[in-house]
């Protein structure tokens, strides 16, 4: 076997001032041309491990470093970050902060120019081409969408022609279609250019579809490093470390199928082969899904929002008007749980800000609880509607969570404001952390803190922008559960999201926007059964929905449980139904 591209021997590392080692006695070999997914719970040392590969640990983060890491034969301890970076490229989770130049071309050529490469122009062109963003070369970096920025960050490290690329949680800040695009590019780089790719990833779906091997980290050391199919077969162990199995793997296991499916098509074939497929049978399948109690409330419910003929546009840098919303009509009722979906730039955020009365439309009228948003200041409308920004830290104005939650009720002279604040902090389970600055909390806690801020405003309309973006799976489920519990306090909630699990598990109504118009307004099950709308809204349905559709179920199941129910209707559960997949042994 050839020499590994990366090897760690007895590697330990402790951050300065930390009570325990973050990396503990790590022994590791990564072969040339591998595509490794590094998985593990929060605080398992994934990011720290990856930062040893390009020397940021120990050269930038000076702590106690023991053991030896070699990258392409170079000892990282005796070489510099600059030298190692020509072999190992690193794309950060918060990749926006890694872009340091104004235009895309400058950004990509920054590395080669700094290292004085005479062929910097060719390298730049080559890197742009490798990730397919030649058309963006002259754009300013702040004009890019999230997905485009990520590809630019990727191109900028590729321009140094590295042999290894480390990508830290690409899915966290991207919409599903953009994340898929990033993974397709990474797979192509791995396959066509022989690059070694290392990603930190929580989502088993992406691991199953793209990785060649999986490295499980726990408590600072690797538990195992296995080929992907063997790794995914250990679904139980993965889910203990915060990586729930992909829905198809979960479903296959719970149906007692012997193999682990790699794709939806795979799973559909297996189910058919084992005579487990729930054949389309309107009588049974409809009963399990379509008439779920989460259907839209009947018309005649109290309207919270009535919007008519809404048109809005933003000014561009060159003074042009760029239309965002185009003659949009919308009614939201008490009891609605609305998921607002659509690709980046479809107008979701703009619409929510208009509904909250933060801005007023250029044309058309919005009645919020019967009050025209034109007739009152945004500050007074805050009594009726609350908009929670996508970035929680922008909502933290004070130096403690408690002060932030209390800000609104105290300022408005609400009676028993203190009890209200206590009750809300309990509700969002942050009493213990209420004296901490919101910025120091974890991602999931930050979301809960902003939910608390919103609740304290006691609005009848709560608008949330991407509340589950960049959360790991456990924190995401936590937020969804909390949203579920809040529905008795808030008359109507609207969530702009790309997260189809949130749509499937929480929403009663889905409004899809496209080019500033309502493309569709339907129940979640109907949406997932409409591939055309899903594609136009740049969405990827949950795997179980795809599997249901592949099996011809109409409407498709929204959760694994619903799929199992449908299967159970077809075949009697057999003994192996509850047995775990063989590889779990």
């Amino acid at each position: 076997m050839s020499a590994p591209i990366i090897a760690a021997e007895a590697l330990s590392f402790r951050y300065p001032g930390a009570p325990t080692d973050t990396l503990r006695n790590v022994d590791l070999r990564i072969e040339r041309g591998d595509f490794v997914a590094v998985v593990g719970g929060n605080g398992s040392g994934k990011t720290t491990l990856c930062k040893t590969f390009n020397g940021l640990v120990p050269h930038y983060w000076s702590g106690e470093f023991a053991g030896r890491v070699t990258v392409d034969g170079q000892d990282t301890f005796t070489s510099s970050v600059a030298e190692l970076s020509q072999t190992v490229g690193y794309v950060y989770q918060d990749f926006q902060n890694q872009l340091v130049r104004p235009t895309v071309r400058d950004e990509v050529s920054f590395g080669p120019v700094n290292f004085g490469r005479p062929d910097h122009a060719e390298r730049t062109a080559e890197a742009l081409e490798m990730v397919g963003i030649e058309h963006l070369a002259e754009k300013f970096v702040w004009q890019l969408s999230g997905g485009q920025s990520h590809l630019v960050a990727l191109a900028s490290v590729l321009a140094l022609r590295p042999e290894v690329i480390v990508v830290d949680e690409p899915v966290a800040e991207l919409d599903p279609a953009a994340a898929e695009e990033v993974y397709r590019r990474l797979t192509a780089l791995n396959r066509d250019h022989g690059l070694t790719v290392i990603t930190i990833e929580h989502h088993a779906e992406f691991i199953a579809a793209h990785a060649r091997s999986v490295l499980l980290m726990s408590d600072g050391s690797p538990v195992w490093h296995l080929p992907t199919d063997q790794a995914l077969a250990r679904a139980d162990e993965l889910s203990r470390h915060g990586i729930p199995a992909p829905q198809i793997v979960d479903a296959a296991a719970r149906l007692g199928l012997p193999q682990v499916p790699q794709s939806v098509a795979d799973a559909a074939a297996m189910l058919s082969e084992h005579r487990r497929a729930p054949y389309p049978d309107p009588a049974t399948t409809t009963a399990t899904t379509a008439t779920a109690p989460r259907d839209r409330p009947a018309t005649g419910e109290r309207s919270v929002v009535v919007a008519e003929g809404i048109r809005h546009a933003h000014r561009g840098v060159r003074g042009e008007l760029r239309p965002v919303l185009d003659d949009l009509d919308l009614q939201l009722h008490a009891g609605d749980r609305v998921a607002l979906i659509g690709g980046n730039g479809a107008g979701k955020t703009t619409l929510m800000k208009l509904l909250a009365g933060i801005a007023v439309p250029r044309a058309g009228e919005i009645l919020l609880e019967g009050i025209s948003t034109r007739s009152r200041s945004a500050r007074r409308l805050a009594d009726q509607a609350c908009y929670l920004d996508q970035r929680p830290e922008r909502m933290f104005l004070k130096d403690s969570v408690r002060a932030d939650v209390a800000l609104f009720p105290r300022g408005r002279g609400v009676d028993d404001a203190e009890q209200l604040v206590d009750r809300i902090l309990r509700r969002v389970r942050l009493e213990q952390l209420s004296d901490r600055d919101g910025r120091t909390l974890s991602g999931g806690q930050q979301r809960r803190a902003t939910l608390g801020i919103g609740l304290a405003m006691r609005p009848s309309l709560l608008l949330l922008d991407e509340p589950t973006a960049s959360l790991d799976v456990a924190s995401r489920d936590d937020v969804i559960t909390m949203l579920d519990e809040l529905s008795d306090d808030i008359a109507c909630s609207v969530v702009a999201t790309h997260d189809m699990h949130l749509v499937a598990e929480w929403a009663t109504r889905v409004i899809a926007l496209e080019h500033g118009r309502v493309l569709a307004d339907m129940a979640p099950a109907e949406l997932f059964a409409s591939p055309e709308i899903m594609r136009r809204a740049r969405l990827v349905p949950p795997q179980v929905v795809e599997l249901g559709l592949a099996l011809g179920m109409e409407p498709p199941p929204l959760s694994v449980a619903e799929l199992l129910d449908a299967c159970a209707d077809r075949t009697e559960p057999t003994a192996d139904r509850t047995e775990e997949a063989p590889a779990w042994r």
Partner: protein
Amino acid sequence: MALTRTTHDVLSVEWIKLELIRTAYATRGGLVARMDPRVVLGWYALLALAPWFTHNLTTLGALFVLAAVFVVLARVGPLVLGLFVIGLISEMVYLAVAALFFDGDLDTVLALTEVTLKLGVVSLASLAAFVSLDPEKLSDALLALRMPATAAFAVSYGYRMMPILVEEFSTVLESARLREPAPSRGGVLGWRHLVHWATLVVRAFYPIFLNTAKSVRTTVEALEARGFTAATIDPRARAIRLASLRVTGLDLAVVAATLAAVVGCHLIGAQWPLHRG
């Protein structure tokens, strides 16, 4: 009073953001934006130094007009121009009041006007020059003039951060405006609202600094990884950066025309001299 809210395209926070971007990145184009950045800096030095060698008000007036012509040619936007005009007017009012208050006369005002005119010429020249230099050009020019690479980079990175900071600032301010208690009555000329608003603006900096401090760590690591420090030692990086700079006929023509115009201003001043006292 019935309130009717509409969307404002000017004098809103959004407008200020766009204007700053347009100004910083010279998106309006214009004559000076097409010039070589090193020549622009030289041209700027020429126009900014010219008024300090004379006390002749006619010459100064002519120079002021010349600088104003360049402001038009450089397509300076309404925001910075507006700020300049407000600054100039308030300066003159202040001078007049101060002169009267301290027992001065018209002669004092004239003397102070001379300084104001000189500063005005320098300001207009700065507007024309720096509005036309986008961050890359400015930082390349600084590099060409043997400024340290860190300074040149700081200029370019500062510009890159600006739209992000403005965006962050407007969001935090919006959040504060909705949630902070506001005075129930405005008072004379709404002074309480003014004080309230000013307090919000100042307080909004606290979250912004903390939020930004967190993200800068990634930036510093990324800079190191992409050879920023290596470039400050390696002369090849500087050579590559500067290879794209070219002095063209346009540059020479503009400098020659400016030189002629400055001489012309002095000739006009000599023809119809106007001195105080």
